[in-house]
């Protein structure tokens, strides 16, 4: 299987296969071998060159995924080379619509701007509170608030779209 892997912010094109507990991963012209077992559900033990790695794949409510290797967290992602169109677009700040997302589950304590308001880059739009801490969600660039999807007092989930800026 041909994959694009993003490991700790680095992108690699790799080919992966697994047979009877032996996994092969080829990238940059080299093939690596690992003995991988799953002694407990979702706990992998990967033995690479005799070294033991206790590994877990942790999916967070925000939608991010991390590999936890001997306690060290590494952000990861994987895409099928055949279906790369499913990869989220790279269009960050700069153009088009931007969704302002709840960074954590919590309660909306204040909506600072109204629909139709102009917003400057890094200006606060909504304040979310959780665990006695308030966090201001800001617009990453200037534009116009075209939609506010939440009201004060409402609870939101992590990753929920709270407002849209164009």
């Amino acid at each position: 299987m041909k994959l694009e892997l993003i490991i700790g912010g680095r992108t690699i094109d790799a080919e992966f296969s697994m047979s009877d507990g032996t996994a092969l991963l080829t990238f940059d012209g080299r093939t690596h071998e690992a003995d991988i077992s799953e002694p407990e559900p979702d706990l992998f033990v990967a033995i690479i060159d005799g070294k033991v790695h206790r590994c877990t794949i942790d999916k967070l409510p925000s939608g991010e995924t991390e590999a936890v290797i001997n306690g060290k967290r590494i952000p990861v992602a994987a895409y099928d080379k055949k279906h790369l169109s499913s990869k989220p677009g790279a269009g960050g700040p700069g153009s088009g619509k931007i969704s302002l997302i709840a960074p954590m589950p919590g309660k909306v304590v204040k909506v600072l701007l109204n629909q139709g308001d102009e917003v400057a880059a890094n200006q606060g739009v909504i304040i979310v509170e959780a665990m006695k801490m308030q966090n201001e969600v800001q617009s990453p660039r200037s534009g116009k608030v075209i939609e506010i999807k939440v009201t004060e007092g409402q609870t939101v989930n992590s990753g929920e779209v709270m407002a849209v800026v164009e």
Partner: protein, 515 residues
């Protein structure tokens, strides 16, 4: 001894208190809010009483509901834990008035030591050193100069009405007094509507050291030595140690004696903590008294062998202290890390949510005082601390090594925690050297920022020398992905319950900018 006690708290401390009750053969009554119906402390209790909606103001902070629950259940005493109502003098009084036993000091002691000015006066009367200065407002520049000369430079100018750093100025010589007086005054006026400022001695690179005391209702007062609590973030302790890393028996004895005198002056019974600042020359100054059990009590328990909660319950029941000062010895070194549901990679943003996986450390010298379990959803309403991990070793070096090992065994899935942050701190040279003070975390964060450039500046291509952890991450990522997408694997089944749509771009979403 009591037969039944109500625990007026939640989370890890409620679990700790319930365990102490069970050790003493006492039945424990839990209280819980809507969000905590399935909480660990409810599961471990003998009886449980629902006291209201999730926000603490409608449940854990409503004194009448808690006293009512205690009366209904037939409990003889109420243990407030820490936080919530533990230092509210009115609550202690209400418990006393209802004929129940408040497992803590008397309401009169809480009232006396809860007021900073009164506490300072009481400490001074008891002959304990306080930070030199005056809380009297300065009249003019000349007055400020005269007071500063008397205290000795450097001095700190503070707003009489406020806190939070507003109106605060460090003054190192008399030339700076004039400008500081007018600027600090103006700042205080705009922040608090009151330009009054006062002066106190500025302590350079202070350590925050506290003394644990235990006092019964018969006038016996014993100190159990110090805890080093200098590792603080946003004025909140994150790592505590016993003994302090400077490990000075003479200083411990002097501070201990001062703490005992202050405790006597407050006519205090129960366990409690006297906080001091210690300067680079090992002079110490009284800061305040915490009239309750402290979060960090386990480090003292491990090093002295005294169960502080058990002793606290015994004192409340009218028993004498089970030890004298001569019985208290300090063996080895203990360190505690507070595990918070916060994201250390993202400015310690709260990270409540469901714990999808939990593997806790064990083995020699490891204690995990936890309030959670696998499958528990950490609520958004309360303090983010989910557990306290404590390690003990024969020396500080050994304790640090055990803590590092324990942290590497600790896995909390589904939410982010401060575990990776502690792993970094315990590798940090300045921390390992023990030369720490309250400015440590600030300096550490600067070093960390300098060593770890933001994601945009990181190379996008995998370097030739991918490290072992990275390679293992690549393997399990590929394996996990191929399973969900049903190919490449002949020996493992694909899983229908995991959707490939869950695989989203890792890294920071640009729209997630937050403070």
């Amino acid at each position: 001894m009591f037969k039944k006690i109500l625990i007026a708290n939640r989370g890890e401390i409620a679990v700790r208190l319930i365990r102490a009750c069970h050790d003493l053969g006492i039945a424990a009554v839990a209280v819980y809010s809507d969000a905590d119906r399935k909480a660990l402390h409810v599961r471990l209790a003998d009886e449980a009483c629902h006291i209201g909606e999730s926000p603490a103001a409608q449940s854990y902070l409503v004194g009448e509901k808690i006293i009512d629950a205690a009366m209904k259940s037939g409990a003889e005493g109420i243990h407030p834990g820490y936080g919530f109502l533990s230092e509210r003098e009115w609550f202690a009084r209400a418990v006393e008035d209802s004929g129940l036993n408040f497992i803590g000091p008397s309401s009169a002691s809480i009232e006396l030591m809860g007021d900073k000015t009164n506490a300072r006066i009481a400490a001074e009367k008891a002959g304990a050193p306080i930070v030199p200065g005056t809380t009297k407002a300065l009249t003019d520049e000349a007055d400020a100069k005269a007071v500063a000369e008397k205290i000795g430079y450097p001095v700190m100018m503070k707003a009489a009405a406020g806190g939070g750093g507003k109106g605060m100025r460090i003054i190192r010589s008399s030339d700076e007094i004039g400008a500081a007086f007018s600027m600090a005054g103006a700042e205080a006026l705009s922040a608090f509507g009151d330009a009054s400022v006062y002066l106190e001695k500025y302590i350079e690179r202070p350590r925050h050291i506290e003394i644990q005391i235990a006092a019964d209702k018969f006038g016996n007062v014993v100190h159990l030595g110090e805890r080093e609590c200098s590792i603080q973030r946003r004025h909140q302790k994150v790592i505590e140690e016993c003994p302090a890393s400077f490990n000075d028996a003479g200083l411990r004895a002097r501070m201990g004696e001062a703490a005992v005198r202050i405790t006597r002056a407050a006519n205090y019974h129960s366990v409690g903590t006297v906080e001091f600042l210690v300067d680079a020359d090992r002079n110490f100054y009284f800061l305040e008294m915490n009239t309750r059990l402290q979060v960090e009590h386990p480090v003292t328990e491990i090093v002295t062998g005294v169960d502080l909660v058990r002793e606290q319950i015994r004192i409340a029941a009218g028993e004498k202290l089970s030890f004298t000062q001569e019985d208290i010895h300090w063996k080895g070194s203990a360190i505690e890390c507070r595990i918070y549901a916060e994201d250390p990679a993202n400015n310690f943003l709260p990270s409540p949510g469901k714990i999808t996986k939990l593997r806790t450390p064990s083995g020699p010298g490891v204690r995990d005082d936890s309030g959670v379990y696998e499958g528990w959803e950490v609520p958004i309403f309360y303090d983010p601390m989910i557990s306290k991990l404590v390690a003990w070793g024969s020396t500080r070096h050994d304790a640090v090594a055990k803590m590092k090992r324990a942290l590497s065994e600790y896995h909390v899935g589904g939410i982010r925690t401060t575990i990776p942050f502690f792993r970094e701190v315990l590798e940090d040279e300045e921390f390992v050297s023990g030369g720490i003070d309250t400015g440590y975390i600030g300096r550490f964060m600067e070093r960390r920022k300098a060593a770890d450039p933001p994601p945009a500046e990181m190379p996008q291509e995998m370097p030739a020398d991918i490290d072992n952890a990275g390679l293992a991450a690549a393997f399990v990522t590929a394996l996990s992905f191929s399973r969900q997408n049903g190919s490449a694997s002949s020996s493992t089944e694909s899983r229908a319950d995991q959707q490939s749509s869950k695989w989203k771009m890792a890294g920071r979403l640009t729209a997630l900018n937050s403070r």
